[in-house]
Symmetry: C2
Subunit: 339 residues, 2 copies
DNA sequence: GTCACGCCTGCAAACGCTTCCAGCGCCCGC
DNA sequence: GCGGGCGCTGGAAGCGTTTGCAGGCGTGAC
């Protein structure tokens, strides 16, 4: 099963067999064919350990993610995996589930000798971590966020937020709530652009933001439901809500329905993502291409490995998708009619 | 950065350094401490290639999945990843996106020398593939499905289906449709138990199944929406629908809403999974623990690697979750009132 | 008919770690 | 006081590839 066996069967030295199999020049065609035939007959698979040791590479790309169950991550990982496979690289998956494993990861940098490149998926890092990361000695690519000066692919969070907010403002809403997503468990930076867009849009419309209309929660649907409850508890609740993700927005819609309020007649809701279930639940949203971001990150990583130049910062476009969860505000008098 | 450097700094031979770091007995405590200190100072990380080559293992577990964006897979992978990390194993991810990559995977068995064990996640294999798989020479564990006589963890699909169907029958439904999930692109076997449960439940209730009430589609919400459209087009549409997954069920609900029908007053819907968004959309369903299945599969793989005995077949329980999408059928006269 | 030059091929030395085997002290028991 | 044994350490041989270097042979040019 070893290269030596293949070489013996083909009647050549291991050196020649190696050259023949890995496509080096200066191997006679007839020899190459004989070696390949022998390899096929013996079902030979090179030991990646030995190859890696001799060549000083691993043939693997490490992917670091904070979550997997959330839609964006699964979709991005899917795109990334496809591209890496085409490039002949194996995908090593690291999930940093909590602050502890995150700390351990950046302290020990276990990927140091385990991969030829690292892709950070939806993972904002802080100053110290970036500094640590740079010592890893391999190429780093980020998707869904920016990481220092490393190549990255992401949406323009601010622009996406503006698309959502401008849509609501255009419909005539003046009192707009926002549900901000954060990741306290992982201490992940919240997408700053999505929040700044909220303030900027209000400012442009001449509206003074009410701090009570902004509530920060985790990324889950349940959190969204809870946040909406909080907003409904206000003396003067919003007529529209802009959520940082569809999953959160869907939670908000559920709370509204439970409260007997109609969407969008009583309260409009928009999210960000275009989650597959957003179409199913008629949720207005700002679509972002998740799989494509993963694919692009993969291509950038491969290009870096090949020594080709890579674009430092790629921004993929987002698109406002208007569905049934957003509409003009009702005349004040008709609001709060319990359906 | 190499073991030799660490050894030199600690004033011992590489052999002793190796033993000290990998926790072998017969190393003086003081020596061990000195080696560890040197390793820490030099930020030493062992080369997995070299270790693997010398030891004949890889320290990696390959995970094979057909999808990532679907909820179950992300959640199961999350649980699996956590357990493998605790066990000190790296996770190598293989996604078999279409029939072509599937074929290639089983032909070439690329994981052969790349991992110490293989976990198949939600991946039913056929006879030929199983035969190929057995030649891989490493332990195989399946989650979410059974694979030959290999250890596996999954729910009892038939029992889960019965929970859903019995619930609908108990509510008084007699004309029950079913949306069967399949994966034609990957040629994945549909979960037979979920279909047999449909027939068995009807039989027990003395109802002759109407072939027109059973429509087979892919796992996506969009498919569910389309399937529901088909069922609504029947001369005598069902009063309840049992879908093979929540994602499909949610698609079905969307079609019903669009058609102006009320859920559950006009048509009841139940799914399987307890997807996080099922709670948000008030969908009745049969809950299955996805993350737990991943965790168990991980533990089984680790146990196998440690040479410990592993339970051949583990079945995790499912649980009927009654929410707002299922209720008793309306008296015939009141049905089809366009809300 | 020579000579030089290329193509191919093989030898052997890495790559970085583990582990078998042997050796060296030291302690304990007689 | 002496021998056996045990605890600890080092030497060296792999593990399976790749690749620099050198050599053999054929070919074309002169």
């Amino acid at each position: 099963m070893n290269l030596a066996d293949v070489a013996r069967r083909a009647g050549v030295s291991p050196a020649t067999a190696s050259r023949a199999l890995s496509g080096h020049p200066h191997v006679a065609e007839v020899t190459r064919a004989r070696v390949w035939e022998a390899a096929r007959a013996l079902e030979y698979v090179a030991s990646p350990e030995a190859t890696g040791l001799a060549r000083g590479t691993t043939g693997r790309v490490a992917v670091v993610v904070p979550h997997l169950a959330r839609w964006w991550f699964g979709a991005a990982l899917e795109g990334l995996g496809t591209v890496l496979r085409e490039g002949g690289r194996d995908l090593l998956l690291y999930r940093l589930g909590d602050a502890g494993s995150r700390q351990a990861f950046f302290d020990e940098l276990p990927t140091r000798r385990r991969a030829d490149a690292v892709v950070l998926l939806g993972f904002g890092v802080d100053e110290r971590e970036r500094e640590r990361l740079d010592r890893i000695g391999v190429g780093i690519v980020a998707a869904g966020t920016r990481v220092g000066s490393h190549p990255s692919v992401s949406i323009d969070d601010h622009a996406a937020g503006r698309q959502a907010m401008d849509h609501l403002l255009h419909l005539g809403h003046r009192r707009i709530g926002t549900i901000v997503a954060a990741d306290p468990e992982l201490d992940l930076a919240q997408p700053a652009g999505r929040s700044s867009a909220y303030r900027a849009a209000l400012a442009d419309a001449g509206i003074t933001p009410d701090p009570a209309l902004s509530v920060t929660v985790t990324w889950s649907p349940e959190s969204g439901a809870r946040a909406m409850g909080e907003l409904l508890g206000l003396a003067d609740p919003p007529t529209a809500v802009y959520a940082h993700s569809d999953e959160i927005a869907l939670g908000a819609v559920r709370t509204l329905r439970r409260a007997g309020l109609r969407v969008p007649e009583d309260v409009s809701v928009v999210g960000i993502d275009d989650h597959p279930l957003a179409a199913m639940t008629d949720l207005s949203t700002v679509a972002q291409p998740a799989a494509e971001q993963g694919e692009l990150a993969g291509r950038m990583a491969l290009a870096g490995l090949a020594g080709e130049p890579v674009d430092p910062v790629v921004t993929v476009p987002t698109r406002l998708v208007i569905r049934g969860s957003s509409g003009p505000p009702q005349a004040a008098g008709r609001r709060w009619r319990r359906s």
